[in-house]
C-alpha cells in the first residue's frame, strides 16, 4: 500500500530529472579552489556551456588551498587560485606526477581594504594595515579615526586571499588571534557593511555597500584606489594575479575552455564581474 505511493513518487522524480538531462553528458571539466574566483569561474562556465552545448564545466569553491590540495590529490582538472603556488606545493606536484604544474594567469585583481561607508578614515598606509591585522593597533584613533576599538575581519586559512594578504601585507607575520574569520569575501564585505568599526580585506570586485580605502605605500606617498587603471598599471600596491593551475599542459576539453577564458569574450566577463583583464 505504502510502497505504491513510493513508486509513484520515485516515478515523478525520475520524470522531472530525465527532463533535465538530455542524454548522457560529456565528462565534466572540474574546477576547484578560490572563493575569490568562484563567481568568475561560474560565469565563465555558464557562458562556455551556452556556446558549446554538451560541454560540462563544474565549478566549486572552498578556498585556493582546497583547490591546490585537490590538484595534488588528483580530484580536480583545474585549480583556481588567487595566489601563486608555493615552491613546496609545486614540488609536491612534480614529485607525484613527474612534471611541474602549468600556470596560466587568467585575470588580475586588486586586494581592497574595506571600511563602512560612514567611517571617516579614507586612506591607510601599508604599515598601518599591517599593524591593525597583527594586533599592534586596536583603536581607530591611532590611524586617524574616532576613539573606538577596531573590529578586524579576515578570511579562513584555506583562502588564497588570506595567504596573499599574510605574505604581502603582513610580511609573513602572524595574524592577531582576535581577527574574525569569515569563510568568503562576500561574508567579509557583509560584516564590514554592518559594522561601523569594522575593517576587512578582499577582492575589489565584491565591494558593495562598503568603501574601499586608498592605500599609501608609505606615509609620504599618494593614496591609490583599486581602480582598473591603477591595478593594470601596477600603481595600486596590493594587486595580484588570479591563476588557473593544471597538472599538465591543457588538452582537449580543458584546452578549449582555457582558450575561451583567455579570449576577448572571456576577458569581457572578467570586467563584468569586477576584476581586471590580463591585457
Amino acid at each position: 500500500m505504502r510502497s505504491r505511493w513510493a513508486v509513484y513518487a520515485m516515478g515523478l522524480l525520475m520524470a522531472v530529472g530525465l527532463a533535465h538531462c538530455g542524454g548522457r553528458r560529456a565528462a565534466p571539466v572540474t574546477i576547484k579552489g578560490s572563493d575569490t574566483m568562484v563567481i568568475l569561474g561560474q560565469r565563465w562556465a555558464e557562458g562556455y556551456m551556452a556556446a558549446h552545448p554538451g560541454a560540462v564545466i563544474q565549478v566549486t569553491g572552498g578556498g585556493s588551498g582546497t583547490g591546490i590540495a585537490a590538484l595534488i590529490n588528483g580530484t580536480t582538472d583545474i585549480c583556481q587560485s588567487s595566489r601563486p603556488m608555493k615552491d613546496d606545493e609545486k614540488q609536491q606536484l612534480n614529485a607525484k606526477y613527474g612534471q611541474p604544474p602549468q600556470e596560466i594567469m587568467v585575470a588580475k585583481d586588486g586586494l581592497a581594504v574595506y571600511v563602512q561607508e560612514q567611517n571617516p578614515v579614507r586612506e591607510l598606509t601599508i604599515q598601518q594595515i599591517k599593524d591593525i591585522y597583527t594586533g599592534a593597533v586596536t583603536n581607530w584613533k591611532a590611524v586617524g579615526g574616532a576613539d573606538v576599538p577596531i573590529t578586524a575581519y579576515g578570511r579562513e586559512n584555506n583562502s588564497g586571499t588570506y595567504v596573499y594578504f599574510k605574505e604581502h601585507v603582513l610580511n609573513d607575520a602572524d595574524f592577531a588571534a582576535a581577527i574574525q574569520t569569515l569563510p568568503g569575501t562576500a561574508a567579509v564585505v557583509n560584516a564590514v557593511a554592518q559594522d561601523p568599526n569594522g575593517i576587512g580585506y578582499g577582492g575589489a570586485a565584491y565591494a558593495k555597500g562598503v568603501r574601499e580605502v586608498g592605500i599609501k605605500s608609505d606615509a609620504a606617498g599618494a593614496a591609490v584606489l583599486p581602480t582598473a587603471e591603477n591595478v593594470k598599471s601596477g600603481a595600486y600596491p596590493i594587486s595580484r594575479g588570479l591563476f588557473y593551475y593544471m597538472r599538465q599542459a591543457p588538452t582537449g576539453a580543458v584546452k578549449e575552455f582555457i582558450d575561451y577564458v583567455l579570449s576577448a569574450e572571456g576577458q569581457k566577463v572578467v570586467t563584468e564581474v569586477g576584476y581586471f583583464p590580463i591585457q
Binding site: 530529472g17 560540462v56 563544474q58 580530484t75
Partner: protein, 316 residues
Amino acid sequence: MTSSTLPAALRRLPKAKPFDWGGRIFSGLTGVAALLVVLMVVVIMGNIIFFGWRTVTWEFLTAMPREGMTAGGIFPAIFGTCALVILMVVALVPFGVGAAIYLHEYARPDAWYTRAVRFSVNNLAGVPSIVFGLFGLGFFIQFVGRNLDRALGLDVVWGQPALMWAALTLALLNLPVVIVTAEEALRTVPREMREASLALGATHWQTIWSVLLPQALPGIMTGAILSVSRGAGEVAPILFTGAAYFLPYLPQLPTDQFMELGYHIFVLATQSPDVEATKPILYGTVLVLLLLTLLLNLTAILLRSRMRARLAGRTS
C-alpha cells in the same frame, strides 16, 4: 474525635494555610521553562515560514539554479538529496533489519557477542557526525576507493568524493536508528504467532520471513523513515565525501558528486557571493528542507503510535 463531632462553628473556620511561595515559584518556573521552549520553536518556524514561503513555487522546486544562485530553482539539490537518501536506505535497511532479527530471534540475551553488538549500537549512535565524515574520507575514499582504483587500473574514479561513499557513510550513521526501531517492531509481534507457525512445521527463517516481518513492517518503516529524515538533514558527514555547490548536471553514476539541500543551505548562508540577493533562495531552501524532514518525522511518529496502540490493544 472526627470532624463530624466538631462543633459546627469550628468546622466553618477557614483552614490556616500559609501561601506556598516556594511551591508556586517552582511550579511557575517549570511552566516558564516549557513556555520558553514552545516560544523558541514558534519563533524559528515562524521566521523561516514568513521569509521563505514566497520563494517556494513549483518552478523553484523543479528548475535549475541560474545566475550565480540568485535566481532559478533548487531542483538539483532536491534530486541529489533524494538520490543520496535512496542509496543510503538500500544499503542500510537490509543490514539494520538483519541485525535486529538476529538480536531478537537468534542471539542469546546475555552472551558476550550479543552484548558486544548492543554496546556497539549504543555507542555508534553517539559518535559525532563530523567523525563519520572523517571516517568516510579515511576509509571509504582513501582506503576502499583508492584500492578499488588500483585494482581496476583506473586513474582516480572511486578514490574521490562520490555519491556512493556519502551514502555509505550516512548508512553507517543511521544504522543504530534502524536496528533499534526494527527490534522494537519485532517485539510487538505476539509470541502466539511465532509459536503457531513453528508448530505448523515452518522453519525458523520461514517463520520470520512470512509471519514476523510482515507484522513488523510498520515499525521497520518507522526506522527507515527516521533514517531518511536524519540522512537528509545531516551535512557534516557529506562535507568532504561528495557534496558540491555548483554542478550544472544531475548525478547519474554512483561516482558522481551531487548537490544536496543541507549543504546548499550551508554554502549559501556562509559563502554566498551576494548575501542579499541569495537570501530569498536561502530561506526557500531552508523551508523545503524543514518541510521535508518534518513531514518524514510526522509519518514516522504516526506509524509508531499506530504500532504501539496495536501492542497496547493486544496486551490489555
